[in-house]
């Protein structure tokens, strides 16, 4: 492979990873120039173009996050869960759960499988009614379920238009916004690909974008990083903190304890014995 071939491959992969075309051209040209100056083939200096593109793209994304963390004030309460219990027939899934979440905070719900994490999230979303207790929440929410969050036979743009219509956005605006939000997760949606043809990780990125399309005050996410590679997982958490800095309250169901020190509340659920 010639050096210029490597350079154009790098450019293509950068664009696929969500970098703007103009910047991609520049980054690729710089990389090729440095290799030329060192007298090395770009492949031996940087490795395969596709891998280097992923590194560069995530560097660009992550740098803009850590650059200037905004000062945060505690905002209004966006979600209040009080004494929530949920029982199905003879099986109790949740017992006396309490949580108060404010705008500008992130809460993680952790627990083993079967501890009722998804059930609690569904109750907060409004899909299920709690057996007892109360839930108060703001009306502007975003919700990303763990499964079946996207429609297999629709393209990403069609998803954006559909959800945009719920929020009163014009089709053009919703597609433009969705595409921009996707870039923040390192993904450039293609026009002619339906959701079932996307990789699992990319489907989940679509899932996450749909949850934030209307700039909600409260974002509910149920382990949406299934199928993410390491970079995407980090990008996802960067996005969570970006939402927080932007003034939203974020509630994430997770069983990965990795980033919990950056989170404002951790709610641990334990499986309730059969009653």
């Amino acid at each position: 492979m010639t050096a210029s071939h490597w350079e154009s491959e790098l450019r293509v992969h950068l664009v696929e990873a969500g970098i703007e075309a103009v910047e991609a051209v520049e980054l690729a040209r710089d990389a090729a120039a440095e290799a030329e100056a060192a007298g090395l083939h770009p492949d031996s200096m940087y490795g395969p173009a596709v891998a280097y593109a992923a590194t560069l793209a995530s560097t660009v994304r992550r740098a803009s996050v850590t650059a200037a963390p905004l000062a945060r004030e505690l905002g209004a309460v966006v979600l209040r869960v009080s004494g929530v219990t949920k029982a199905y027939r003879r099986r109790q899934v949740l017992r006396e759960v309490d949580l108060t979440l404010r705008a500008g905070e992130v809460a993680a719900i952790v627990g083993a499988n079967g501890s009722g994490k998804s059930t609690l999230l569904n109750i907060c979303a409004g899909l299920t009614r709690a057996s007892s207790g109360s839930v108060e929440r703001t009306s502007r929410i975003g919700y990303a379920p763990q499964h079946d969050g996207v429609s297999a036979l629709l393209t990403p743009a069609e998803h954006f238009r559909l959800f945009g219509a719920v929020y009163g956005m014009s089709p053009k605006k919703s597609v433009a916004l969705g595409t921009r939000l996707a870039a923040q997760l390192g993904w450039r949606p293609r026009k002619d690909v339906v959701a079932s043809q996307l990789s699992g990780g990319t489907q989940q990125k679509l899932n996450v974008v749909l949850a934030e399309l209307n700039r909600p005050d409260l974002i509910l996410l149920d382990e949406p990083y299934q199928g993410f590679d390491q970079d995407s997982y980090l990008d996802f958490w960067d996005q969570v903190f970006r939402w927080r800095d932007g003034g939203a309250g974020v509630l994430v169901v997770t069983h990965m304890l990795h980033d919990l020190d950056r989170v404002d509340h951790v709610l641990e659920l334990r499986p309730v014995e059969e009653s």
Binding site: L27, D30, E36, A38, L40, L56, T59, V60, T66, A67
Partner: protein, 120 residues
């Protein structure tokens, strides 16, 4: 101990090293790599060095400039901004605290009866 562990160590501090080298004087990519090697580090691969420089640029610590060079294609020079100088000072202070703590713990071990030698 193998080279990959040392590489991991350098990864954590690479940004600070680059900030410090650039605080001394502006330089281009390969020049920085050479100075790191001279200082005693293993070779830093291009795939690590240039993303680190890009990160510094995106964070506003460094600005870049192309300059024609006598010996070949134009070179991209990196220079610290005021923000970069401030960041460098902050991180250097943090490093000095870290280094003092490391010394206490690690070099303290060599004072023990089974240690290899005496400490400074």
């Amino acid at each position: 101990m193998d080279a990959s562990t040392r590489q991991h160590w350098l990864h954590g501090f690479l940004d600070l090293c680059l900030l410090a080298l650039l605080a001394e004087r502006r330089d281009y990519g390969r020049g920085l790599a050479e100075r790191l090697a001279d200082a005693g580090f293993d070779d830093v691969p291009g795939g690590t060095l240039y993303p680190a420089l890009l990160r510094l640029e995106k964070q506003g610590f460094v600005r870049t400039e192309r300059e024609p060079s006598v010996t070949g294609p134009p070179r991209k020079y990196y220079e610290l901004t005021d923000l970069g100088h401030a960041a460098m000072r902050e991180r250097r202070d943090a490093w000095q605290q870290f280094r003092a703590a490391m010394s206490t713990v690690v070099e303290g071990a060599s004072r023990a009866p089974n240690g290899p030698g005496s400490v400074r």
